[in-house]
């Protein structure tokens, strides 16, 4: 299918689109090297200082640490609960399927303000003090559905005959799960965990409603936005970005290498 302007239009468009998508990232990256004082609005000169002394800025590293902690705990629970649901949805017949699908879909479709305000009201009604754990509870809730979607795709592509072969070869259901199902699901579960961590780490709105005085990294940026976000925040943002991209690229390249190694032999 060609557009009348020639076959380079579409690739050119794609390149422009990618540039557009990446501009803010590049900007943030560049300004993480800014020799700024209080605010990071005007370029004052190039320095590595912010990268080497990132924790000197008050509060940044604590906020980052909180975000990592919250991310890890939420991911563990969301991935566990979500994987179980994904397996149930793909492998089993049961009556109330549509309701379950709907219940899992709604948190993804609900605006974060509504989720945040609702949970905050709930905690208030129950007299629960807002803090790190209310944030974690909130994060598990909204990450759950995303885990289900990701793992579900992986489970669906798994040949059920493999599990039947396991049972045929004297493995009881528990052994079948740990020796056959789980290892084969692992790539999907890992993707889901990564996604869940990313969503939790970057979440602001729901966190803002349900945090007490605890700072997460996005909260830190938001509260600093009024007076000026320090370059150290850029540093952390870019470091996380680089790590995430590296992990994703490494996984993809690794997958490709594996695929090429498994050439057919006779």
């Amino acid at each position: 299918m060609r557009f009348s302007l020639g076959k380079f239009t579409l690739p050119l468009y794609a390149v422009l689109a990618f540039i557009y998508l990446l501009i803010p990232i590049v900007y943030t990256f560049v300004f993480s090297f800014n020799n700024s004082l209080k605010t990071n609005l005007i370029w004052r000169g190039f320095t590595f200082d912010k990268w080497t002394n990132v924790c000197q800025r008050e509060g940044v590293c604590q906020a980052f640490g909180n975000s990592v902690f919250i991310g890890i705990i939420s991911t563990i629970f969301a991935t566990g609960l979500g994987t179980m649901i994904a397996i149930a949805l793909v492998r089993y017949r049961f009556k109330f399927r549509s309701s379950v699908n709907l219940l899992l879909f709604l948190p993804m479709a609900t605006p974060e303000v509504v989720l945040g305000a609702g949970l905050a009201s709930q905690f208030f009604n129950l007299g629960v003090q807002k803090g790190i754990w209310t944030i974690i509870i909130a994060h598990i809730m909204f990450c759950l559905s995303f885990v289900v979607v990701t793992v579900k795709a992986r489970v669906a592509s798994l040949d059920p005959a493999l599990e039947e072969a396991g049972r045929d070869l004297y493995a009881n259901p528990t052994q079948v799960f740990w020796k056959i199902t789980f290892p084969l699901l692992l790539p999907g579960i890992a993707s889901a965990a990564l996604l869940s961590f990313a969503l939790s780490f970057d979440d602001f709105i729901i966190t803002n409603f349900n945090a007490g005085s605890d700072m997460t990294f996005p909260r830190y940026v938001y509260t600093a936005a009024a007076r000026g976000v320090p370059a150290e925040a850029n540093v952390i943002g870019c470091a996380v970005f680089a790590l995430a991209i590296l992990i994703v690229l490494a996984t993809q390249i690794n997958g490709e290498v594996k695929r090429r190694k498994l050439a057919k032999v006779h």
Partner: protein, 374 residues
């Protein structure tokens, strides 16, 4: 080496099995007995319930009604991992995350058998694949995967080995080779094999006993030669090989045979080869048992003749010529003539009479679906 697999096969018995799924009944009123040490084929078209039967025996499904006995023991309620049965799956189902050796050793490890890797190596020797022990299944060809699947099942010395259309994915030449190998292994090892297939040539070639299944029940069971020579139902006569069927009411009976009258022709079948002796009956004969002549043959007590018909199509299939002859009031009759070097000098449009020996007729128990009972 075969002595290591000394465990003798067990016999299998299915009693009054009924299996219902939401919306339809797959199997109804199934009785089956497979003697120990036999190569048994379950043959039928897709949807006839043969795979369901296999899964019932493996324990992957539970019957709605009925009982399953293996070696005399009631295993109906036993879980698959507790039954002395192993399956070779249609898609092989080799674990992609384990090496070939680990795949074969899997069942042994689950049963906590001593020295699983050594035994797995022996099984791979049996199927001549020990040089591929450290590969992953994805690196193997279809035929090799099939042999690994076989080794993985055999190494556990099951009383009963179930094979679910294991040769379906292989090309013709490989399939022929594997048929010979499977049969050889079964005879060498002495296990009971239950082989499910829709390929009637494969079933007839490999099995000691064939059961033809249709719509959830067994139509006929017996040695391949018996089934082919003497089908008892319309379905079996058409599913195993081809048949020409003539339908009529029984008009005369003699000491040894019964006869029907079709379009003025007297067609006889020996009583011993007829499922019923009165009423409306379908009498059939195989295309390769018939010949045709351009002159009406003389009447004879031991030959059936029909005609005159017109040859409307001739197909050359290398091994034989297939003639389609239209006989008024009887429909289209197929006759095969083996290719002996020079074909009979005959053309489309020729007028011929078809004859075959009475001994080669068979009388069926039922009638084709579009004919009403008398």
């Amino acid at each position: 080496m075969a002595k290591e697999f000394v465990a003798r096969g067990a016999d299998l018995e299915l009693k009054q099995i009924r299996k219902e799924f939401p919306g339809f009944t797959a199997i109804d009123n199934l009785d089956l007995h497979v003697p120990a040490g036999e190569f048994f084929a379950l043959l039928g078209p897709s949807g006839c319930g043969k795979t369901t039967t296999l899964r019932l025996v493996a324990g992957l499904e539970s019957p709605t009604k009925g009982q399953i006995f293996i070696g005399g023991k009631d295993v109906t309620a036993t879980k698959p991992h507790e039954r002395p049965v192993n399956t070779v799956f249609q898609s092989y189902a080799l674990f992609p995350h384990m090496t070939v050796l680990e795949n074969v050793a899997f069942g042994l490890r689950q049963r906590k058998v001593a020295d699983p890797l050594a035994k797995a190596k022996d099984a791979l020797n049996l199927v001549q694949l020990s040089h591929l022990a450290d590969r992953k299944p994805q690196q193997l060809s279809g035929g090799q995967q099939q042999r690994v699947a076989l080794a993985r099942a055999l190494v556990n010395r099951p009383s009963l080995l179930l094979l679910d259309e294991p040769l379906g994915a292989l090309d013709l030449k490989l399939r022929r080779e594997m048929q010979i190998e499977l049969k050889a292994i079964q005879m060498e090892v002495g296990l009971t094999f239950l082989h499910v297939t829709h390929d009637q040539e494969e079933a007839m070639d490999m099995a000691d006993t064939v059961a033809v299944m249709n719509l959830g029940h067994i139509e006929q069971m017996g040695a391949p030669e018996t089934l082919y020579d003497r089908p008892k139902t319309v379905f079996v006569s058409k599913f195993l090989g081809q048949s020409n069927l003539l339908i009529g009411d029984v008009t005369s009976t003699s000491a040894n045979s019964i006869s029907i009258d079709v379009a003025g022709n007297k067609i006889s079948v020996p009583k011993a080869r007829a499922e019923k002796h009165n009423g409306k009956i379908a009498i059939g004969f195989r295309p390769e048992k018939a010949t045709f002549q351009t002159k009406k043959p003389a009447a004879s007590a031991d030959t059936n003749v029909i005609g005159a018909g017109e040859i409307i199509d001739i197909r050359f299939t290398g091994v034989s010529n297939q003639y389609l002859i239209e006989v008024p009031e009887l429909g289209n009759i197929t006759v095969f003539a083996q290719n002996m070097g020079k074909s009979p000098f005959i053309e489309v449009g020729a007028k011929v009479w078809i004859s075959w020996s009475v001994e080669n007729s068979f009388g069926l128990a039922d009638l084709p679906a579009n004919i009403e009972e008398a």
